[in-house]
């Protein structure tokens, strides 16, 4: 038994970290824009919004589910926030919409856990519903008037953008929940086997509801920060966000089937995707081509597992054939 093996089995592999480093190096070498500090500060700031949402989504995907309604949740939370702020003040409004996020998540959770609607369909439906609600609340974009609120997402502590710091804090909390608490353990267990989790005394429905509440809460955080950054809200904002966030989680190595995953990797992947977008913008690709390219990247991301497995099997086959040939050669009269 190997007691020294403190630092784990692969919770998921860290390919994305290497990919990001290599990508950044290539960018830095090819274009001077990519060597400037503001560029990186911008990336870290921008990716924070998606990353926070991604932390919540990681929980969902590890448990074998996911949430397609996060984009709509962001819109709804953002619109509500901007509507409430002039009425009750910034801080109360923030607290209220955090609660709203939890409620939206709980609704998803109940549909999925108690009424047994499959996750993708339930959240596909609520996506529609939440966005419609956002539109009903306010049909036109709302501009944020409060200067302090607008400012905090642009602020920096030293050279680090504030959103990034907040994101790091949330990531640490998220990781502690996932790795060190009963809730986190139960979430991973459900992702491995529903039935086994049940037999171990875990309440599947209650855990599922809490997962979606976590997603709702973190998404609301992300929405608040995003609203501050954009300075406005709009019922049609962030369309397609669910796609980016789920990509980040899967790109980071968390399998859609669930059972294992890493928050750290999700964040790295989120940074990777934002870097990619910035790069595409700098290279002057227009948005339709960007969409095509994003689709292709997603495909590659998902087939990496297949490609790697085939590659691994190929290597092992080659090695075993080499061994076999060696063995056969050494045996007399084979």
């Amino acid at each position: 038994m190997n007691n020294k093996n403190r630092f784990h089995i692969d919770y998921s592999d860290h390919g994305i970290v290497y990919a990001l480093i290599i990508f950044l190096l290539i960018l830095a070498m090819t274009n001077e824009n990519f060597r400037a500090m503001p560029f990186y500060q911008n990336i870290f700031r921008q990716s924070s919004f998606n990353a926070i949402c991604g932390i919540g989504m990681t929980f969902a995907i590890i448990s074998g589910n996911f949430d397609l309604s996060v984009a709509a949740q962001v819109a709804l939370v953002s619109v509500t926030l901007t509507k409430l702020m002039p009425v009750v003040g910034v801080l109360p409004a923030i607290l209220i919409v955090l609660g709203l996020g939890v409620v939206l998540g709980a609704f998803n959770g109940i549909l999925i856990a108690k009424i047994r609607i499959p996750a993708f369909i339930a959240t596909l439906a609520t996506q529609l519903g939440y966005r419609a609600l956002a539109q009903l609340i306010e049909n036109t974009p709302i501009v944020v008037k409060d200067v302090g609120f607008k400012h905090f997402s642009l602020a920096k502590v030293g050279i680090v953008p504030v959103p990034f710091i907040i994101m790091t804090g949330i990531a640490i909390i998220g990781t502690i929940i996932l790795r060190k608490t009963r809730l986190g353990r139960s979430i991973i267990a459900i992702g491995n086997s529903h039935e086994a989790a049940k037999i171990s005394g875990i309440s599947i429905s209650w855990t599922l509801i809490r997962i979606y509440m976590i997603v709702g809460l973190f998404t609301a955080c992300s929405a608040i920060m995003l609203t501050s950054y954009l300075g406005s809200s709009n019922f049609g904002m962030q369309i397609g966000l669910e796609f980016t966030v789920i990509s980040a989680v899967v790109l980071g190595g968390t399998a859609l089937a669930g059972g294992k995953g890493s928050i750290f990797n999700t964040i790295v992947a989120a940074i990777f995707l934002v870097t990619l977008k910035s790069a595409m913008d700098t290279w002057g690709l227009d948005s339709s081509w960007q969409r095509v390219l994003s689709g292709v990247i997603l495909v590659v991301a998902f087939s990496i597992t297949t490609i790697r497995t085939t590659f691994n099997i190929g290597i092992i086959k080659y090695r075993s054939r080499k061994n076999l040939r060696k063995r056969l050669r050494n045996q007399p009269g084979s």
Binding site: A196, I199, S200, G201, I316, L324
Partner: protein, 522 residues
Amino acid sequence: MEYIELKNITKTFVNVQALSDVSMSVREGEVHAVVGENGAGKSTIMKILGGMYFADSGEIWIDGIKRDIKNVQDALECGISVVYQELNLMPDLTIAENIYLHNLPQKGGIVDKKTMNLNAQTLLDSMDLKLKSTELTSMLSVSEQQMVEIAKALSHDSDIIIMDEPTASLNNNEVDTLYRLIKNLKKRGKTVIYISHRLQEIFDLSDQVTILRDGTYIGSYKTNEITTDKLVELMVGREISRFYKTADHVPGEIVLEVKNISKEGLYSDVSFSLRKGEILGFAGLMGCNREEIVKTIYGLVQADSGEILLNGVRTMPRNPAEAIRSHIGFVTEDRKGSGVFALMSVRENISMNILKLISEFGLIKADKEQDLLKNYTNKMNMRYSGYYQRINNLSGGNQQKFLLARALAADCKVLIMLEPTRGIDVGAKVEIYSLLGDLAKQGVAIIMVSSELPEIIGNCHRTLVVFQGKITGDISKKDMDADIDVHGANRREQLRVSSQKYENIIMQCATGNITYFRGEDK
């Protein structure tokens, strides 16, 4: 060269060498058995013959011609069809559709349903199955589905039929039908390759038996020229002194009382009691719902009426969490699907039942978890390479030990195990029986639900037999062994006779022919 020749077959999966340089031959028209522990490679080599896997190297020769079997279609064309261990049926399709899916009779692009249903029905009738070919497969019981699998293989009318553990889910009548079918196939000149853990079947049915161990070929013998002991020895690679440890201590006072529990459609008016340190067996045919009865004790099933008393206190767990709190433990029969948390580490797997107990303020204490793991590793001789090793890299036997440890970790006084040694090799089986025996001696009451009668007869103080949701037999081992003269010269023979008697009574109760209530005096 024989009819079927496998030469130097090697197959490696990602990390595991499943087969190394295996060669074996099968004569035409014989029933050829392949035995070996789990992981020996029996299923793998059959899957290669059947076209499911492709060998890394080696050759397959059938009837003097070298064959290239790359997929199932190729295998079928070579005259090989396979009945696999895992059911390969489509629940939403009818029986006829399942059987003929590969070869749907068509008239100009449209499926000829009439012919298909008729052919299927003929096949089912010839197997004495009371099933309609137009029935949906999802409506069938597990054993009926297994029989449909066999029908599927027979429908190809292949010359070579491979069966991998075909009796795993069958009841007695169906096993008889299978025996008849195999004898029939032999009469018609077909070749049958038969994989089974049940040594009795090997001796009943086969002409020749091949032993594999750890992916290598050990030997091949005429079945009537080898003994059970020798066979087991070759399978395991060492001498096995006593396979079953008979429970020889005396159970204590009553810890569990089940009184008249009923659940519509599953079981009715079930009552029994369990003593401290007693090992109680639950026997019965597939579909008699004995699993549901014991699951009720663990809170996985809710009874409609009746009561359960634990140490005199009324306890009706509404869910497993409550059962765990009442010190009841449960080990599932489906290790892979509902047992282990495959992608999680050994440490995480063992502590899952008692997360509450090892955490403070919601945070899990790592040192408590580690202690738990160390404790049970020593007690149970578990083999793994690190705290953080992923559990699905372990062998089946080790995984089963982890499931057992997980249940015990909650300090359980009543342990329920379903099929405790299913799919586990002989060596690990012995270890588990030994562990269970020790647990019972320490006062844990054990309920063992098993389809392997020798396992029940060999381990349990008492056996309850279930037939269609009712208890029809309560048989104590003492009663069966009552006439044995312990110091007599032919003790072994007497043991064999009493085991046979035990088995017969169990089977009679299981088929509803008799009832037998002569358990331990209360």
